[in-house]
C-alpha cells in the first residue's frame, strides 16, 4: 500500500502534537488543557467512560475542532482535508450505510479518498485479507456481526495507509482469535513506522501491544507511563465475592468466621437479600476456597458463589482514584 501523501511527510516533524487543547460539549468540559506529543509506535489511551478519550480522538481525527489550543498531525491541522490524508480513524461508533456490502463500503471509501479506480480492487483484496474479511466481503453491513463491523472499521482506517492511526476501542466485539490477529497487525504496522493511538478497556490486549500508556480522567491527562504500573494496581484492587446460602440463620455466624481469615478485608449484607453475604478481598481464589471449606464444616449448603465482575469502566475509575 502506498500512502497518498507519503512522499510529502517530513519525518522530522512530530507525528502528533496537541498543545493545551480544550473542548467544551455545551456546559460540560470534555477535554481540559491537554498537551500530548506522540512519536512513531503504539500508545494506549486509557480512561473510564466520559474521561475524554473519544473527544481527544475525534479532535485528532479532525471530527471536532478545539475550543482552545491546537492539534497538528505532521504539522497539518487535521480538521482540513489535507490533514485527513494523514489520519486513519476507526471510531467507536456503530453506524454504517447498512444497505452496502463490506466490499462496496470500502471501495466507495477508497474512491472518496482519491485512490484511483483501477487500483481499488487490488487494494481491497489486500486490506480485506489483512483484517480477515475476504470470505464475507459481499455481506451487507446490516447483516454483519459486531465483530465483522469492527473489522470493517479497522479496514477503513488502514485503507489509505496513513502514517497516523487512531483506533477507538478496536477490540470491542472481536473474538479471541480475531484479537490475536489484530494485535499482530498492529505490531506489524508499528514495525512499518506507523504512529498508533489505541483506546481500550482490554488491559490484557493493551499489554501485548505496548508499554506506553496515557491515562485520562475528567478530560485531563493524569498520568503517562508504562502499562505494567496500571496492571499492578489492577491486580491489587479489592474485589467482592458474593456467597448465597440456603440458611438465613447461619449467615451471621458464617460472616464472623470468614472475617477471621487474614485475606478478608471486610463483609457486608446487601440490602433486602437475606441469603447473601458479600466478602471483600484482594485474593478471591484463596478466600473462595476458604468459604467453601467453612460452609462444608458447618453443614451449610451453598446456592451461589461468584466473584463479582465489575464493569471495566468502574475498574478504570478505581485506578484513578488512588
Amino acid at each position: 500500500m502506498i500512502g497518498v501523501l507519503a512522499d510529502t511527510i517530513n519525518s522530522d516533524i512530530v507525528p502528533l502534537w496537541c498543545k493545551k487543547v480544550s473542548k467544551w460539549h455545551g456546559n460540560f468540559l470534555g477535554l481540559n488543557d491537554v498537551s500530548l506529543e506522540l512519536r512513531p509506535g503504539i500508545t494506549a489511551l486509557l480512561g473510564s467512560n466520559g474521561s475524554g478519550k473519544s473527544t481527544l480522538m475525534n479532535l485528532i481525527a479532525g471530527q471536532l475542532y478545539p475550543d482552545a489550543g491546537f492539534v497538528r498531525v505532521y504539522g497539518i491541522d487535521p480538521w482540513t482535508w489535507q490533514g485527513k490524508h494523514l489520519v486513519g480513524y476507526s471510531p467507536d461508533l456503530d453506524y454504517f450505510y447498512s444497505s452496502w456490502s463490506i466490499k462496496d463500503f470500502l471501495a466507495r471509501m477508497a474512491y472518496l479518498a482519491g485512490i484511483e479506480g483501477k487500483r481499488i480492487p487490488n487494494l481491497l483484496k489486500e486490506v480485506l485479507s489483512v483484517v480477515g474479511l475476504s470470505l464475507v466481503q459481499s455481506t451487507l453491513l446490516r447483516r454483519c456481526s459486531l465483530g465483522m463491523r469492527q473489522r470493517a472499521k479497522i479496514a477503513h482506517a488502514i485503507l489509505m495507509d496513513p502514517p497516523l492511526l487512531i483506533l477507538d476501542e478496536p477490540f470491542r466485539g472481536i473474538d479471541p482469535v480475531g484479537r490475536r490477529d489484530l494485535v499482530q497487525l498492529l505490531l506489524q504496522l508499528q514495525s512499518a513506522g506507523k504512529t498508533i493511538l489505541v483506546s481500550s478497556h482490554e488491559l490484557e490486549e493493551i499489554e501485548k501491544l505496548t508499554n506506553q500508556v496515557v491515562m485520562l480522567r475528567s478530560g485531563r491527562i493524569v498520568s503517562a507511563g508504562p502499562v505494567s504500573r496500571v496492571r499492578d494496581r489492577l491486580l491489587n484492587k479489592p474485589v467482592e465475592i458474593a456467597l448465597e446460602i440456603e440458611s438465613v440463620e447461619k449467615i451471621r455466624m458464617l460472616a464472623q468466621t470468614v472475617l477471621n481469615h487474614s485475606d478478608v478485608l471486610g463483609v457486608r449484607f446487601p440490602e433486602g437479600k437475606f441469603h447473601v453475604l458479600m466478602v471483600l478481598t484482594r485474593k478471591p481464589e484463596i478466600v473462595s476456597s476458604h468459604l467453601v471449606v467453612v460452609s462444608l464444616e458447618n453443614n451449610i449448603s451453598i446456592r451461589r458463589l461468584e466473584v463479582v465482575d465489575e464493569a471495566p469502566a468502574e475498574v478504570m475509575e478505581s485506578l484513578f482514584e488512588g
Binding site: G62, Q63, L64, P91, D92, L93, Y97, A113
Partner: protein, 309 residues
C-alpha cells in the same frame, strides 16, 4: 490551486458514489406519494365527468351564475323572445360562442385549480423536500456523515456533490408527478404541462436548495421543512398583497401567469403576478437557490459531529 483541484475532484467523487443512491421508501416519500395519488384520483374523477371547463367552475371572485347557467339562460331567452329571427340569431351566436368557450376552457380551469393552487401551493414543496431534506439530513440523523468527514474531501465538495446528487431525483419526482397529474387531466393537462414545465423545474431547483440547506444544517429538518412548506408556501403564498412575494411559488406563478397571458388566458386578476417579468422571476428563483447553497456550504463547513456514540 490545490484547493480548487481537491474541490472539483471531491464533487466528482461524491457525485459518483451518491448519485444513484437516493433514499427511497422513507416516511416522507410515502407521504408525498400518497398525496400524489390522492390528488390524481380527484383529477381523474373530474376528467371522467368531463368537468375541466367553466360549465361547473365559476371564475374566481365572481358570485352568481356559472357559465353553464349563463348559456342556458341565453338559450332560454331566445325562446322567450319569440320568433324574431334577428334576436334569435344573436342569442344563438352568443350561446354557440359560450359553448365554444366552455370546450376551450379546460386549460385555464385545470391550471388555476390544480397547478396554481394545489401543485404550487402544497404538492411541489412536499415533493421537493422528500428528497432534498434527506440528502444530507439522512446522513446526519443516520450518523453516517462521519464516514464522509473522515475522507480527504473538502466540506464544500461534500455539500455541493450531495446537492447535485439529489437534484435529478427532486426534478424527476416533481416533474414526473406534474406529468402524471397532467395525463390524468387529459388534453387540458397536457397543454398545461407543455407550457409550465420550465417554471416548475426552476421552482424545483430553488426548493431543493432551500430544503437541502435545512437537512444539512438544522436539527429536526423534516419538521422544519414541512412547517416552512405549509406556512410560507401554502399560507403566505396565497395571501393577498405583497406578502406572497416571500414564497418561492410566487415567482413560478409569475412566469406561468405571463406564459398563459401570451396565449390570451388571464389566470388570476390582481394577483400581482404581472409585476415581475419572466426573466426577473427566474433570476429571483435562481438567486434564492444560490443564496441557500452558499449559506449551506458556509454552515456545513463548521459542523462538528457530537454525540456520535
Amino acid at each position: 490551486m490545490d484547493n480548487l483541484k481537491a474541490f472539483i475532484q471531491g464533487v466528482r467523487s461524491i457525485l459518483a458514489v451518491h448519485l444513484f443512491r437516493a433514499k427511497v421508501g422513507h416516511g416522507l416519500f410515502w407521504v408525498s406519494a400518497g398525496f400524489l395519488l390522492l390528488v390524481a384520483s380527484v383529477v381523474v374523477s373530474v376528467s371522467l365527468k368531463n368537468q375541466w371547463n367553466y360549465k361547473t367552475f365559476k371564475p374566481r371572485g365572481q358570485a352568481g351564475l356559472n357559465f353553464k347557467n349563463s348559456t342556458e339562460m341565453i338559450e332560454a331567452g331566445s325562446l322567450i323572445l319569440g320568433p324574431n329571427a334577428g334576436v334569435s340569431a344573436i342569442c344563438s351566436a352568443i350561446a354557440a360562442s359560450g359553448s365554444g368557450l366552455m370546450i376551450q376552457s379546460g386549460f385555464p380551469v385545470f391550471t388555476k385549480n390544480v397547478v396554481f393552487s394545489v401543485l404550487l401551493g402544497f404538492l411541489l414543496p412536499l415533493w421537493c423536500l422528500t428528497f432534498a431534506v434527506e440528502g444530507l439530513g439522512a446522513e446526519r440523523e443516520g450518523k453516517t456523515l462521519f464516514w464522509l468527514f473522515s475522507k480527504p474531501v473538502p466540506r464544500s465538495s461534500i455539500y455541493l456533490g450531495k446537492f447535485l446528487a439529489i437534484l435529478p431525483w427532486v426534478i424527476i419526482w416533481s416533474l414526473g408527478g406534474f406529468l402524471f397529474l397532467a395525463i390524468c387531466a387529459g388534453d387540458s393537462g397536457i397543454i398545461a404541462f407543455n407550457l409550465f414545465w420550465q417554471p416548475i423545474a426552476f421552482a424545483c431547483i430553488t426548493y431543493a436548495s432551500v430544503f437541502f440547506f435545512m437537512g444539512a444544517c438544522l436539527p429536526r429538518a423534516s419538521l422544519i421543512a414541512l412547517a416552512y412548506a405549509f406556512v410560507v408556501e401554502t399560507l403566505l403564498g396565497s395571501m393577498p398583497g405583497s406578502l406572497k412575494q416571500l414564497s418561492v411559488a410566487f415567482y413560478a406563478r409569475c412566469i406561468m401567469f405571463q406564459k398563459s397571458s401570451d396565449l390570451g388566458v388571464i389566470l388570476e386578476q390582481g394577483g400581482g403576478y404581472g409585476d415581475f417579468s419572466q426573466t426577473m422571476a427566474i433570476c429571483f428563483m435562481l438567486g434564492i437557490a444560490l443564496l441557500f447553497l452558499v449559506a449551506g456550504i458556509f454552515f456545513f463547513g463548521k459542523i462538528e459531529l457530537r454525540g456520535q456514540r
